[in-house]
Protein backbone atom coordinates (compact mmCIF):
# COMPACT_ATOMS: atom_id res chain seq x y z
CA UNK A 1 0.00 0.00 0.00
CA UNK A 2 3.04 2.24 0.28
CA UNK A 3 2.84 2.44 -3.52
CA UNK A 4 -0.18 4.71 -3.09
CA UNK A 5 2.29 7.44 -2.13
CA UNK A 6 4.02 7.37 -5.54
CA UNK A 7 1.84 9.96 -7.33
CA UNK A 8 1.88 12.23 -4.27
CA UNK A 9 5.68 12.12 -4.00
CA UNK A 10 6.01 12.77 -7.74
CA UNK A 11 3.70 15.79 -7.58
CA UNK A 12 5.55 17.06 -4.49
CA UNK A 13 8.87 16.72 -6.34
CA UNK A 14 7.55 18.65 -9.34
CA UNK A 15 6.08 21.26 -6.98
CA UNK A 16 9.45 21.68 -5.27
CA UNK A 17 11.17 22.26 -8.62
CA UNK A 18 8.47 24.77 -9.55
CA UNK A 19 9.09 26.64 -6.27
CA UNK A 20 12.84 26.80 -6.97
CA UNK A 21 12.14 28.19 -10.44
CA UNK A 22 9.74 30.70 -8.91
CA UNK A 23 12.43 31.78 -6.46
CA UNK A 24 14.84 32.28 -9.34
CA UNK A 25 12.26 34.45 -11.06
CA UNK A 26 12.13 36.43 -7.83
CA UNK A 27 15.84 37.01 -8.36
CA UNK A 28 15.03 38.39 -11.79
CA UNK A 29 12.69 40.95 -10.20
CA UNK A 30 15.72 42.43 -8.44
CA UNK A 31 16.80 43.75 -11.84
CA UNK A 32 13.92 46.25 -11.85
CA UNK A 33 15.42 49.70 -11.41
CA UNK A 34 18.90 48.72 -12.56
CA UNK A 35 20.76 49.13 -15.86
CA UNK A 36 21.92 45.72 -17.10
CA UNK A 37 23.55 46.72 -20.39
CA UNK A 38 26.16 49.47 -20.20
CA UNK A 39 25.29 52.37 -22.52
CA UNK A 40 28.40 51.85 -24.64
CA UNK A 41 27.45 48.28 -25.44
CA UNK A 42 23.77 48.92 -26.10
CA UNK A 43 23.90 50.71 -29.39
CA UNK A 44 20.52 52.14 -30.35
CA UNK A 45 18.45 52.10 -27.18
CA UNK A 46 15.77 49.40 -27.17
CA UNK A 47 12.64 49.96 -25.15
CA UNK A 48 11.34 46.40 -25.18
CA UNK A 49 13.53 43.32 -25.06
CA UNK A 50 11.74 40.23 -26.32
CA UNK A 51 13.42 36.96 -25.35
CA UNK A 52 12.32 34.04 -27.50
CA UNK A 53 13.47 30.69 -28.86
CA UNK A 54 12.72 28.34 -31.72
CA UNK A 55 10.96 25.81 -29.51
CA UNK A 56 8.74 28.39 -27.81
CA UNK A 57 5.37 27.89 -29.47
CA UNK A 58 3.55 30.65 -27.63
CA UNK A 59 6.32 33.09 -28.65
CA UNK A 60 5.57 32.53 -32.32
CA UNK A 61 1.81 32.15 -32.10
CA UNK A 62 0.95 34.85 -29.57
CA UNK A 63 3.81 37.03 -28.30
CA UNK A 64 5.34 37.90 -31.66
CA UNK A 65 1.99 38.91 -33.27
CA UNK A 66 1.22 41.04 -30.18
CA UNK A 67 4.59 42.79 -30.46
CA UNK A 68 4.19 43.31 -34.19
CA UNK A 69 0.80 44.89 -33.58
CA UNK A 70 2.28 47.05 -30.81
CA UNK A 71 5.15 48.14 -33.07
CA UNK A 72 2.65 49.39 -35.63
CA UNK A 73 0.85 51.56 -33.11
CA UNK A 74 3.71 53.29 -31.29
CA UNK A 75 6.40 55.82 -32.07
CA UNK A 76 8.82 54.28 -34.59
CA UNK A 77 11.68 55.53 -32.42
CA UNK A 78 10.85 52.89 -29.84
CA UNK A 79 12.80 49.76 -30.64
CA UNK A 80 11.51 46.27 -29.90
CA UNK A 81 14.52 43.99 -29.93
CA UNK A 82 14.01 40.26 -30.47
CA UNK A 83 16.60 38.07 -28.80
CA UNK A 84 16.82 34.34 -29.49
CA UNK A 85 18.29 32.97 -26.26
CA UNK A 86 20.16 30.31 -28.20
CA UNK A 87 21.83 32.98 -30.34
CA UNK A 88 22.56 35.41 -27.52
CA UNK A 89 22.74 33.32 -24.34
CA UNK A 90 24.99 35.87 -22.65
CA UNK A 91 22.35 38.60 -22.78
CA UNK A 92 19.69 36.14 -21.56
CA UNK A 93 21.98 35.22 -18.66
CA UNK A 94 22.52 38.85 -17.71
CA UNK A 95 18.78 39.50 -17.69
CA UNK A 96 18.28 36.19 -15.76
CA UNK A 97 15.77 34.88 -18.28
CA UNK A 98 14.45 31.53 -17.07
CA UNK A 99 11.31 31.13 -19.14
CA UNK A 100 10.05 32.01 -22.61
CA UNK A 101 8.63 34.32 -23.69
CA UNK A 102 10.01 37.05 -21.46
CA UNK A 103 9.56 40.71 -22.31
CA UNK A 104 11.48 43.43 -20.50
CA UNK A 105 10.59 47.11 -20.68
CA UNK A 106 13.40 49.67 -20.42
CA UNK A 107 13.16 53.40 -19.90
CA UNK A 108 15.11 56.02 -21.85
CA UNK A 109 18.18 55.47 -19.67
CA UNK A 110 18.13 51.72 -20.27
CA UNK A 111 16.87 51.04 -16.77
CA UNK A 112 14.64 47.98 -16.36
CA UNK A 113 11.11 49.09 -15.44
CA UNK A 114 9.04 45.93 -16.02
CA UNK A 115 9.67 42.22 -16.49
CA UNK A 116 6.92 40.04 -17.97
CA UNK A 117 7.43 36.27 -17.68
CA UNK A 118 5.07 34.53 -20.08
CA UNK A 119 2.78 36.12 -22.63
CA UNK A 120 2.24 39.88 -22.28
CA UNK A 121 -0.44 41.52 -24.40
CA UNK A 122 0.26 44.56 -26.56
CA UNK A 123 -2.03 46.58 -24.33
CA UNK A 124 -0.06 45.68 -21.21
CA UNK A 125 3.27 46.46 -22.88
CA UNK A 126 1.95 49.76 -24.20
CA UNK A 127 0.85 50.77 -20.69
CA UNK A 128 4.23 49.72 -19.29
CA UNK A 129 6.00 51.84 -21.91
CA UNK A 130 3.84 54.82 -20.92
CA UNK A 131 4.69 54.21 -17.25
CA UNK A 132 8.37 54.08 -18.23
CA UNK A 133 8.00 57.55 -19.73
CA UNK A 134 8.45 56.45 -23.34
CA UNK A 135 6.72 58.46 -26.10
CA UNK A 136 4.39 55.71 -27.28
CA UNK A 137 2.00 57.82 -29.40
CA UNK A 138 2.63 57.09 -33.09
Amino acid sequence: MILLLAPLIAIAAIGAVALVLRAQRGGQRELVGSVVEPAGRRGPLPSVLYFTGEACTICHTAQWPALRSLAGSIDPGIEIREIDIAVDPDLARRYRVMSLPTTIVLDAAGQVTEINVGFASGEVLRRQLVDAGMPVAA
Partner: protein, 153 residues
Amino acid sequence: MAVVPFDRSVLKVNQAILMSVIVVGYVVGLAYHPVAWALPVLAVMMLAAVASPSFNVPRLLYLRWLKPAGIVKPRVVREDLAPHRFAQLVGGVFLAAASIFVITGLLLVAWVLAWIVAALAFLNFAFNICVGCNMYAQLVRIGLLPLSREPAR
Protein backbone atom coordinates in the same frame (compact mmCIF):
# COMPACT_ATOMS: atom_id res chain seq x y z
CA MET B 1 19.71 21.59 -36.01
CA ALA B 2 17.57 23.15 -38.72
CA VAL B 3 14.03 24.36 -38.39
CA VAL B 4 11.98 21.85 -40.38
CA PRO B 5 8.31 21.02 -40.99
CA PHE B 6 7.25 18.78 -38.13
CA ASP B 7 3.98 17.09 -37.22
CA ARG B 8 3.24 17.81 -33.56
CA SER B 9 0.65 15.04 -33.49
CA VAL B 10 3.52 12.54 -33.25
CA LEU B 11 4.46 14.10 -29.92
CA LYS B 12 0.85 14.05 -28.73
CA VAL B 13 0.53 10.34 -29.53
CA ASN B 14 3.78 9.68 -27.67
CA GLN B 15 2.56 11.60 -24.62
CA ALA B 16 -0.85 9.87 -24.70
CA ILE B 17 0.83 6.45 -24.74
CA LEU B 18 3.13 7.41 -21.86
CA MET B 19 0.30 8.73 -19.69
CA SER B 20 -2.04 5.81 -20.43
CA VAL B 21 0.52 3.06 -19.83
CA ILE B 22 1.88 4.65 -16.65
CA VAL B 23 -1.50 5.42 -15.08
CA VAL B 24 -3.13 2.09 -16.02
CA GLY B 25 0.08 0.22 -15.13
CA TYR B 26 0.24 1.94 -11.76
CA VAL B 27 -3.41 1.19 -10.89
CA VAL B 28 -3.13 -2.45 -11.94
CA GLY B 29 0.31 -2.64 -10.34
CA LEU B 30 -1.13 -1.78 -6.94
CA ALA B 31 -2.66 -5.25 -6.92
CA TYR B 32 -0.31 -7.06 -9.29
CA HIS B 33 3.28 -5.85 -8.87
CA PRO B 34 4.83 -7.50 -11.99
CA VAL B 35 2.99 -4.90 -14.11
CA ALA B 36 5.86 -2.58 -13.15
CA TRP B 37 7.84 -4.34 -15.89
CA ALA B 38 5.92 -2.12 -18.30
CA LEU B 39 8.32 0.66 -17.25
CA PRO B 40 11.42 -0.90 -18.88
CA VAL B 41 9.33 -1.42 -22.02
CA LEU B 42 8.40 2.28 -22.01
CA ALA B 43 12.05 3.22 -21.39
CA VAL B 44 13.18 1.22 -24.41
CA MET B 45 10.39 2.76 -26.50
CA MET B 46 11.44 6.30 -25.51
CA LEU B 47 15.17 5.80 -25.96
CA ALA B 48 14.68 3.99 -29.29
CA ALA B 49 12.57 6.92 -30.52
CA VAL B 50 15.43 9.28 -29.68
CA ALA B 51 17.93 7.02 -31.44
CA SER B 52 16.08 6.90 -34.76
CA PRO B 53 12.67 7.82 -36.22
CA SER B 54 12.53 4.28 -37.67
CA PHE B 55 12.32 2.90 -34.13
CA ASN B 56 9.82 5.50 -32.94
CA VAL B 57 6.81 3.32 -32.08
CA PRO B 58 4.35 6.19 -31.43
CA ARG B 59 5.36 7.77 -34.74
CA LEU B 60 4.84 4.50 -36.61
CA LEU B 61 1.53 3.97 -34.87
CA TYR B 62 0.45 7.47 -35.84
CA LEU B 63 1.63 7.30 -39.45
CA ARG B 64 0.36 3.79 -40.17
CA TRP B 65 -2.92 3.75 -38.27
CA LEU B 66 -4.08 6.83 -36.37
CA LYS B 67 -3.51 9.36 -39.16
CA PRO B 68 -4.86 7.28 -42.10
CA ALA B 69 -7.91 6.35 -40.01
CA GLY B 70 -8.52 10.03 -39.25
CA ILE B 71 -8.38 9.37 -35.49
CA VAL B 72 -5.61 11.94 -34.98
CA LYS B 73 -5.33 14.90 -37.32
CA PRO B 74 -1.92 16.21 -38.43
CA ARG B 75 -0.66 19.50 -36.97
CA VAL B 76 2.38 20.47 -38.99
CA VAL B 77 4.51 23.33 -37.71
CA ARG B 78 8.00 24.57 -38.54
CA GLU B 79 10.31 24.20 -35.60
CA ASP B 80 13.59 22.85 -34.34
CA LEU B 81 13.37 19.18 -33.41
CA ALA B 82 16.35 19.28 -31.05
CA PRO B 83 14.44 20.47 -27.93
CA HIS B 84 11.78 17.78 -28.40
CA ARG B 85 14.38 15.07 -28.88
CA PHE B 86 16.09 16.29 -25.73
CA ALA B 87 12.78 16.19 -23.83
CA GLN B 88 12.21 12.63 -25.03
CA LEU B 89 15.72 11.73 -23.93
CA VAL B 90 15.04 13.13 -20.45
CA GLY B 91 11.82 11.09 -20.25
CA GLY B 92 13.70 8.01 -21.45
CA VAL B 93 16.44 8.49 -18.85
CA PHE B 94 13.85 8.86 -16.07
CA LEU B 95 12.13 5.66 -17.22
CA ALA B 96 15.47 3.88 -17.53
CA ALA B 97 16.21 4.88 -13.94
CA ALA B 98 12.73 3.63 -12.97
CA SER B 99 13.55 0.35 -14.71
CA ILE B 100 16.64 -0.10 -12.55
CA PHE B 101 14.49 0.33 -9.45
CA VAL B 102 11.97 -2.20 -10.84
CA ILE B 103 14.82 -4.68 -11.27
CA THR B 104 16.09 -4.03 -7.74
CA GLY B 105 12.59 -4.31 -6.30
CA LEU B 106 12.24 -0.67 -5.16
CA LEU B 107 8.83 -0.25 -6.74
CA LEU B 108 7.91 2.92 -4.84
CA VAL B 109 10.89 4.81 -6.30
CA ALA B 110 10.21 3.32 -9.74
CA TRP B 111 6.60 4.51 -9.72
CA VAL B 112 7.57 7.96 -8.38
CA LEU B 113 9.90 8.42 -11.36
CA ALA B 114 7.23 7.10 -13.72
CA TRP B 115 4.63 9.48 -12.29
CA ILE B 116 7.01 12.41 -12.80
CA VAL B 117 7.27 11.42 -16.48
CA ALA B 118 3.48 11.04 -16.70
CA ALA B 119 2.87 14.43 -15.08
CA LEU B 120 5.33 16.19 -17.41
CA ALA B 121 3.80 14.39 -20.40
CA PHE B 122 0.38 15.63 -19.26
CA LEU B 123 1.63 19.24 -19.05
CA ASN B 124 2.90 18.99 -22.61
CA PHE B 125 -0.16 17.13 -23.89
CA ALA B 126 -2.77 19.41 -22.34
CA PHE B 127 -1.04 22.80 -22.15
CA ASN B 128 1.93 22.59 -24.56
CA ILE B 129 4.27 23.19 -21.61
CA CYS B 130 7.39 21.28 -22.58
CA VAL B 131 9.59 21.19 -19.48
CA GLY B 132 12.29 19.19 -21.27
CA CYS B 133 12.38 21.80 -24.06
CA ASN B 134 12.83 24.54 -21.45
CA MET B 135 15.63 22.53 -19.86
CA TYR B 136 17.24 22.30 -23.30
CA ALA B 137 16.98 26.06 -23.78
CA GLN B 138 18.52 26.70 -20.36
CA LEU B 139 21.38 24.29 -21.05
CA VAL B 140 22.08 26.06 -24.35
CA ARG B 141 21.88 29.39 -22.56
CA ILE B 142 24.50 28.44 -19.97
CA GLY B 143 26.68 26.85 -22.63
CA LEU B 144 26.35 23.17 -21.64
CA LEU B 145 24.77 22.26 -24.97
CA PRO B 146 26.20 23.48 -28.26
CA LEU B 147 24.34 25.92 -30.45
CA SER B 148 23.82 24.64 -33.96
CA ARG B 149 21.07 26.89 -35.21
CA GLU B 150 20.62 29.94 -37.34
CA PRO B 151 19.30 33.18 -35.86
CA ALA B 152 15.51 33.46 -35.74
CA ARG B 153 15.64 36.38 -38.18
